[in-house]
Each structure stands twice: as C-alpha cells, then as structure tokens.
C-alpha cells in the first residue's frame, strides 16, 4: 500500500503541474483517423482460439477523438489442464471498448471503458490518462489509472459467484535523445483483490490411491500486487530501417519474478512493403505457494498448480509483412494496408509435469512444454 500511496502522490504532483501551468501555445496531436479489421488465430497446447477484432479512431476539430473496439475470442480448449482434470470445452469471449480523447494545447486527456463477457466471467474496466508533450516536444509523459471489476462464476454451479477488484497505476515516459534515437520507460503497479484463482483448476497431492495422487481445488491468496518496469529504445539505422530493444522487469507479492527481453527490426522494402521481425525471451520464477505435487491434502494455506504460476520460460520468433496501397474509386480512404503477422512461440516449464504419459511415479513425469502458432491478418484504412 506504501507503493500505491507513492504512485498516487506522484500522480497528484504531476496533475497539479499540468493544471496550474498554462498550456503552451503549440498544440500536440491526436492519433490519425484509422480503422483496423483483424482476424486472429492461435493454436497451441491443445487450445485453438480465433475471431475478429475491430478498432476505429476518428478525430473531430483536431481537439476531440473517439475510438471504438470490438473483439471476439472463439475458444476450443483441450489443454493439458482440461485433459487431465476436466473435459474439453468450447466458449466465446466478446469485448467492447469505447474511448474519448480531448487535446488542450500539449495535454491530452483520455478516458475509456471496456466490457468483456464470457459465459462464466464478466469484466468492466474504466481507464483515465493524462499525457503531455514537454521540453520542446522532446519528452512525452503519460500518467494513467485504470479500475476494473470482474464477476467470476462457474459453469454448472448457480450458487458460485465471486468478485475481483483491480486498480492499475502507471507512468510512461518517451524521450527523444537524438535525430535517430528515442528512449522509453514505463512503470505500472497492478493491485488486485478478490477471487483470483481459476474456479475449475485443481492441484494434486500424494495420496494412497492406485494413481499415487489425488486432486483438490486450487486456493490462491485474495490479494496480489505486481510491479513492472520496462525500458525500451528505438533507433533509426543509417539506411531506412529501425531497430528496437525492450527489457521488462516484473515482481509481485506472490513471489513471481520475471524478466523479458525483446529485439525487433523493421525494414521497408520500396514504397509499399514493410517487413518486421522480432524475437522475445521471457523467463519467470514461480509463485511461492506453487507446487506440481503437494505432499498431502491441505498441506498449506495457498495451493496452486496453474502452469502460468510455475517456473517457466518462453521464446517467440515473429515475422510480419505489410503492403500499402490506394483503394481504387474510394476517395475517403487516403491509404490502406494489408498485413500478415506470424509468431512461433515455445513454452517450457521447469516444475509443471505432463501427466498424460503413464508408468511414471508421481513427481517423476516428464516436464511439460508446448509450441504455439499465432497468426494476425489485418486490413487498415486511413481516412
């Protein structure tokens, strides 16, 4: 909570400065008028997810802007968790978003709301941000706050109903260093309270049954506070291409420590083609209360065998190709592009075991890993 108070104080200090200082005479800019229509596809670890996503942004009088988004996940899951402790299922998640921005001088005020629904989970999120260009537009500082309220239910159980309350505080700084180099830094604190575990997932413990182990429900702490710090740099190479490096550190009150490294390269080819490649490496230490196999039932206060909380690493290699064109006989679309992005992901777990093979003593099964393929195909139009 000390950290939350500190971030609140920082927000108040910055907001006071912005409020009491007259807006500089040169105005900032709002995002371009743009519409994106995307089809997304994920296939990995026995889970297939696909669906559409739409994002539209429109400015009015160069001072106001609105944006609206629509997103659908159609999930068909036979993941390792589902196979070993439940039955494969299908479900759909739909998310709507609406945002508003107001530009006054070099300060942009933004507010947005989103709603996500699936048959056993609902989430409402309201976000506010204030950003300012300063020091001759070399620096952009943004403060943001987000509040989320989730409703957790369980299929086949009309009595089960839980809540999650979420507060997110963050600050982003983007800094022009030279004619070719931009640096960025972000800090974000996420504080959650409520029912934070998955109501279906179970942990296993050693038991005197033929299989050698039995299951009991997961039990997570009811609070979690995580902090993330990210640093990034983007550099314009001597020829027309860009190179970006990112690093993120993460730590939370469940004992998860994570580090993420990413490098990305963008290469235009002629006037119309754009090629991207990126590699991302992620590694995390597991939650303090996580175990693949507990020594007995109810062996500790908190229990988790959710592989997202295990000690793990992941690697992602992605490619993207975009083609820009003019849409014939459609005057109001100034330019358009079609893009295809493909990512190959590999997830390796250090203490989450694959229970599908038989003939192993409990706790000696092979460690689990899986590959995933992610495709994003989208059309963008600027108007």
């Amino acid at each position: 909570m000390q950290l939350t108070r500190t971030i609140r104080s920082i927000a108040i200090t910055l907001a006071a400065g912005w409020l009491f200082c007259p807006a500089p005479s040169i105005a900032g800019v709002l995002p371009e008028d743009r519409a994106d229509l995307m089809y997304h596809y994920y296939d990995g670890g026995g889970v297939q997810i696909d669906g559409p996503s739409v994002l539209v942004r429109k400015k009015f009088k160069e001072k106001y802007a609105v944006n609206a988004s629509y997103y659908v996940d159609m999930v068909s899951s036979a993941s390792i968790d589902v196979i070993t402790t439940a039955s494969p299922y299908k479900e759909e998640r739909t998310q709507y978003g609406l945002g508003f921005e107001y530009l006054r001088g070099k300060v942009t005020y933004a507010a947005s709301f989103s709603n996500s629904k699936e048959n056993d989970y609902g989430a409402d999120t309201a976000s506010f941000s204030i950003s300012q260009d300063m020091f001759g537009d070399l620096t952009t500082v943004q403060l943001f706050f987000s509040r989320g309220k989730d409703d957790v239910t369980r299929r086949g159980d009309d009595v089960f109903s839980e809540k999650v309350d979420r507060h997110i505080y963050g600050i982003d700084v983007s800094q022009i260093v030279s004619k070719k180099l931009i640096l960025g830094a972000s800090w974000e604190t996420i504080a959650e309270e409520g029912f934070l575990n998955n109501p279906y997932r179970q942990v296993r413990y050693v038991d005197a049954v033929p299989l050698g182990y039995s299951y009991e429900p997961e039990r997570y702490p009811h609070t979690r506070t995580g902090n993330a710090l990210a640093l990034r740099a983007r550099y314009y190479l001597p020829y027309r291409a860009a190179l970006q490096g990112d690093y993120r550190w993460y730590n939370d009150t469940w004992g998860i420590d994570a580090n993420t490294l990413e490098i990305a390269y963008t290469q235009p080819i002629g006037d119309r083609l754009m090629f991207d490649v990126h590699f991302r490496y992620y590694m995390q230490g597991g939650a303090d209360f996580y175990s693949d196999l507990y020594p007995r039932a109810n062996s500790q206060n908190f229990l988790a065998r959710d592989k997202e909380l295990a000690t793990m690493d992941s690697q992602t290699l992605g490619f993207g190709l975009g083609y820009e064109f003019k849409v014939p006989r459609v005057e109001f679309i100034q330019k358009a592009s079609v893009n295809l992005k493909y990512d190959f992901m590999r997830f390796n777990y250090d203490d989450f075991r694959d229970l599908r093979p038989t003939g192993y003593a409990p706790g000696t099964e092979p460690l689990y890993s899986f590959d995933a393929n992610v495709i994003r195909l989208f059309f963008s139009g600027w108007f």
Binding site: M38, G136, L138, G170, K179
Partner: protein, 75 residues
C-alpha cells in the same frame, strides 16, 4: 526516504516545466527520421494489443507495455 523526496522534486520540476521554455536540442525540422512511421513505438495497435493479450494469458507477469505513444511531436 531521501530518494522519494528527490523523485517528487524532479517530478514537480517536470510537471511545471510547461511554465518555462526549454530549447529543444533536436529541432522540429531535424525530426524527419523520427517522424517516419517505422519509428513508431506501436505502429499497429490492433495487432499489438492482441499479442499482448496472448502473452498475458500464458505468463505470470503483466504490465508496463508502454502507452505514451507520441514522443516525437513532429506531425
């Protein structure tokens, strides 16, 4: 708590910076390369928010994905 006091002082200076004029060391007319779309932090927001969702659904860490956009002020 000296670091936090220093932080507040630095932030207050930053926040009230609009009251004073700072001469930019990279002039607006020198930002041609920075204004190139290839230098945007987030060129395709619909695609990047999706891949972020993919990561966050399968990993324990979240946040600090960057949202300060702009930074160039050269449009």
């Amino acid at each position: 708590m000296i670091p936090s006091r220093a932080l507040f002082a630095a932030l207050a200076l930053l926040a009230f910076s609009g009251c004073s004029h700072v001469e930019p060391w990279v002039k607006p007319y020198e930002r041609e390369k920075l204004a190139d779309p290839i230098m945007a932090w987030d060129r395709d927001p619909v695609a990047s928010s999706y891949i972020l969702h993919v990561y966050e659904s399968r990993e324990g860490a979240r946040g600090a994905a960057g949202g300060a956009g702009g930074g160039c002020g050269c449009n």
